[in-house]
């Protein structure tokens, strides 16, 4: 590999268009004759629709059409759920894109207006009169499971979407009955609103004469959008082109294919002109999928010297009113299978109940299942340390899975690929000067100041994933990735990938992979993605999989090119193929590096092709469909330092140090950026963010005025370090890094706050750790003492 390209922190190739305002996001695209759609959404969390009067709206200035559920009947199939969790009694409620007779969350779509301008479309929404008959609502997952609770879907008993279990290792009952120490906690993983800065949008253009449909969509996975649109709207895939232009972040919220997308397409098809729909931020809060929303009852069994002997949990996971595209897999597969964390735990059992509630559907949100698992395990380990009077470092060390570099089985059934968890922790302790921090903490306590240190040691499953496994766990698709590498005559390269990054920087890192494999400059490589007409099928960017799976596909395609190029080079140099050698873009006869052909020479010959070896086709391109043999398992150790003001309950995050291991880094600057962003999202969950519904299902944090996102002035510098443990099964040894920070940081910050408050007797506070919650926990603890 070329040392100057692979592994170097070069500037991103995406940026020139983004920093000059020249990039086109979906809402930036305007087509001739385009109309605008606006959606009327239910203000009730649960209500029967007794009638809809659209007469006045239809007559309003600029209005071209108004459609209700009755108008879309037969033209838009219910929105599909694509993760059919096996062995879980999964019950999928029909998700009508436009509500038929009942609305089940604030934001459920009731009607659509198409008008000449957005202002006119919104004016007309105010003129639609809907006769609602309000019904009782239920918003908390555990309440939804209780007897006598309002039922969302008559045919689905007890609001239960599924009941999934994982059992592994020894007898869990015995582990607890024999335990010398047991620690327990109930954790609320609050509801989070992803808040990609770009709101969701769809532009659909249907040409009646040809039956061709083009859809621009803010999506993380354009090929899945095409596939599902063809099923739901009935436009065949050969006439359906989906384009994810510039996409402004997703964090899981742009995985699902939404009712709004199907409705916009329906409108274009019905009217024969382009139609665009763009959500407002408050609409995003109501209708774009949320994340987390678990109630977790957890307990850990251990010996008196701190060795973990069992972990048991029951989780109530709120799914929202309907099951979003990938939702059932999040609190189950991506959560329950990770409960061993970085520890050797001999017995694990978890029950997960997925429950329908009168709330916005829940989906993957950065980390998706794994932050919830890490938080559980890291909380329990800290509780165990507190109970035994040991430093949290010590309890972790006593339970870490020892260093391994080619496979380690955990009792949940996964095989971790490689890891050195103690190594990461040691590096963290050194970089943060942990011993000194503990001394400073002790000193501060003497002076009445409450400083806390919080650790989080994590491992995550990513690079989703082997297709056989995906099938076995009910995902309605393989999870392979594809890449086409095409050399043009002048030696410039086009790379077409099926996955679709949306801010992560793969236009740069993938060019670096090609540079590393084929010795061309990254500047000579154009990475094409996000257009189903120009790219091979692929599954998209989520689960930290684009580099881990798509990158592998690309590396293998490049190696195919190298093999073919070697044959051509041998022919041109009149040597035997087996005598050829390759280094950094040059092919030469072994021992004679001066007589060589560059990859550019070969590209020219392969494309003009007037002197090709016998039986070798013209062209220099290769296609690979890569199906990973296993997942990849990045890991790391994080430390947060906080100070709590006991008078107000305010938490001040003073320092944050991270050590992450994602294997070899293609571009360390981009890796560091992913870690920064991920950490801050996890800090957001710990300290500020919460989607709050009242008991009637009204979203009280309905705008950015109420939902607190992390801001620059509330954060310290984030210190990022790394270790490098290659994945044994990946062609480049790389793992994923997109979610690592989020998976680790919530627990680190939470543990730090509890550590700070330990002298006051506080053991638990619900997240987010707002000043009032912290203050109340102090008051309660002081009352007890």
């Amino acid at each position: 590999m070329s040392a100057t390209t692979f592994g170097s922190g070069i500037r991103r190739r995406e940026d020139p268009r983004l920093i000059t305002g020249n990039a086109s996001y979906t809402d930036d695209i305007t087509l001739p004759g385009m109309l605008h759609a606006a959606l009327l959404r239910s203000p009730y969390a649960h209500a029967r629709i007794n009638g809809i009067d659209t007469a006045q709206a239809s007559e309003a200035p600029g209005v071209v059409a108004v459609y209700t559920g009755a108008d879309t009947e037969g033209d838009i199939a219910p929105a599909p759920c694509a993760w059919l969790l096996p062995d879980s009694d999964l019950k999928i409620a029909e998700y009508h894109c436009v509500a038929k007779d009942t609305v089940r969350y604030v934001g459920d779509i009731v009607a659509v207006v198409v008008a000449e301008s957005r202002y006119q479309a919104y004016d007309a929404l105010d003129l639609i009169d809907v006769d609602y008959e309000p019904l009782d609502a239920v918003v908390e997952p555990k309440k939804a499971a209780a007897d006598g609770t309002p039922q969302l879907h008559g045919e689905i008993e007890g609001n239960q979407a599924f009941h999934w279990t994982v059992t592994g290792g020894g007898d869990i009952g015995e582990a607890f009955s024999q335990a010398e120490v047991v620690v327990k906690e109930t954790i609320v993983q609050q509801r989070l609103i992803p808040n990609a800065m770009e709101p969701r949008a769809t532009l659909a253009s249907y040409i009646p004469a040809t039956g061709e449909l083009t859809v621009w969509n803010t999506t993380q996975n354009p090929h899945i959008v095409r596939f599902l649109c063809s099923l739901v709207i009935g436009v065949p895939e050969d006439r359906l082109r989906v384009i994810a232009p510039e996409v402004g972040g997703g964090f899981g919220s742009k995985i699902a294919v939404y009712p709004a997308d199907f409705i916009t397409i329906f409108c274009s098809k019905k009217l024969g002109v382009p139609v665009k729909w763009v959500e407002s931020r408050s609409e995003n809060y109501q209708a774009t999928t949320h994340g987390r929303d678990h109630v977790q009852e957890i307990e850990l069994a251990a010996t008196a010297d701190g060795k973990i002997t069992g972990l048991r949990a029951t989780v109530w996971a709120g799914m929202g009113a309907y099951l979003s595209t990938a939702a059932p897999g999040i609190p189950t597969i991506l959560h329950g299978l990770m409960l061993s964390g970085v520890y050797d735990i001999p017995a694990i059992h978890e029950d997960v109940y997925g429950l329908y509630t009168n709330t916005t559907p829940v989906e993957a949100y950065r980390g998706a299942g794994r932050p919830e698992a890490t938080f559980m395990v890291e909380r329990l380990v800290d509780l165990l340390a507190a109970k035994l009077g040991l430093d949290p470092v010590e309890v972790r060390r006593r339970n870490f899975i020892p260093k391994f570099d080619n496979g380690h089985d955990v009792v949940t059934g996964l095989t971790y690929d490689s890891g050195n968890y103690d190594g990461a922790l040691n590096k963290l302790l050194g970089e943060s000067n942990y011993e000194q921090l503990r001394a400073e903490q002790a000193e501060a306590r003497k002076n009445g100041r409450y400083i806390g240190l919080g650790l989080s040691t994590y491992v995550e499953i990513c690079g989703l994933g082997p297709s056989q496994v995906a099938g076995a766990i009910g995902f309605q698709g393989g999870l392979w990735e594809s890449a086409i590498v095409r050399f043009h005559p002048s030696g410039k390269v086009h790379v077409m990938i099926g996955t679709s990054p949306h801010g992560q920087g793969e236009e740069t890192t993938f060019a670096q992979i090609i540079a590393g494999e084929l010795g061309v400059s990254p500047d000579d490589v154009k990475v094409i993605h996000g257009d189903t007409d120009n790219t091979p099928m692929g599954w998209g960017t989520y689960g930290s999989r684009t580099t881990a799976v798509g990158g592998a596909a690309l590396a293998l395609a490049a190696r195919k090119i190298r093999d073919k190029a070697k044959v051509i080079a041998a022919h041109l140099l009149e040597a035997a193929v087996e005598d050829m050698d390759y280094d950094d873009g040059k092919f030469f006869v072994k021992g004679s590096p001066d007589s060589s052909k560059t990859i550019q020479d070969i590209a020219l010959m392969a494309n003009v092709a007037w002197n090709m070896p016998e039986g070798v086709e013209a062209g220099l391109e290769a296609t690979t469909f890569y199906d990973p043999p296993n997942f990849v398992f990045p890991y790391g150790a994080h430390l947060a330092v906080v100070e709590v003001d006991p008078d107000s309950g305010n938490v001040d995050l003073k320092r944050y140090v991270a050590v992450d291991d994602c294997g070899p880094q293609i571009n360390p600057v981009i890796v560091e950026g992913q870690v920064h962003g991920g950490i801050v999202q996890g800090i957001g969950q710990a300290l500020w963010e919460e989607g709050v519904y009242d008991d009637d299902g009204q979203l009280l944090t309905g705008t950015m005025l109420d939902y607190a996102l992390p801001r620059a002035d509330r954060l310290p510098d984030i210190e990022v370090h790394s270790t490098v443990t290659p994945s044994p099964h990946h062609p480049l040894g790389v793992k994923g890094i997109g979610e690592a920070g989020t998976i680790a940081s919530t627990a680190a910050v939470y543990n730090a706050v509890i550590d700070a408050l330990a002298p006051l007797g506080v053991e638990a506070v619900n997240m987010p750790l707002t000043p009032e919650r912290v203050w109340r926990s102090i008051q309660a603890a002081q009352g007890r003492n």
Partner: protein, 289 residues
Amino acid sequence: MFAPQFDYYRASSVAEAAALLEQHPDAKVLAGGHSLIPVLKLRLAAPSALIDIGRIDGMRGIREEAGQIVIGALTTHSELAASATLQSGATALSEAAGMIGDPAVRNRGTIGGNVAHADPASDLPAVLRCLGAEFAIAGSSGTRTVGAADFFEGLMTTAVEEHEILTAISIPSGSGGQGSAYAKFSHPASRYAVIGAAASVTVADGVCSAASVALGGLVPAPVRATAVEDALAGKALSADAIADAARCVGDSLADDEVLGDVYASAEYRSAVAHVWVSRALTAAAARCG
């Protein structure tokens, strides 16, 4: 989001604005727009017309006259924050203005618009109550002046009648030995005040000879914390004296008036208000030169 339709009239004088308000009974006054436009975009209001006073000459700027600092209603928060006159003569006001929203908001938002909207969570009302401001209000029948105690009548309600315009705000120039400060518990999302405490103290012969403390954020309209003021009278402003006095703040908060929301309950706000009162007093005391 997209506001409903309204008509628009640009006034070039206070008299013209007052006349336009008479002609359009359902109209709203537009200055910087940072209170009004968000409300319009969310369709929480649908006035028939906006009367834009943003270009009226002479309603902008800060000047000193006859022991008063006179601030034109169109003066922006940025101008308040950067004003040397205020920084020395009414520190709490420039300090609070610098904490409103963010730089872009401060560049457009005006003091007049802010106080006329009188959002309970906004910063300036408490400061102006603390500093004993007077408000000049103009209507078609002339102008009148109202003191801060009478200006803020209740939740988002001021002494400015429907057909009137707030034109200027004056505050007494600071005297020797006086210092003022504003301390804010900022909402992490909206940046509005969960609790805002403004304090002005005068020290003579080493003891507090005058104190004014006002609270905003947690009450429908700013209130003076007279119990705190009384507790400070005649005391040397030590850390303990300030903390003890600040703890009297609850006596000035009527239980049924304290506002709560999903982020911070009324009970909590009442219980911790003393922390910010104490901070404001400490900073104000340190500024008594």
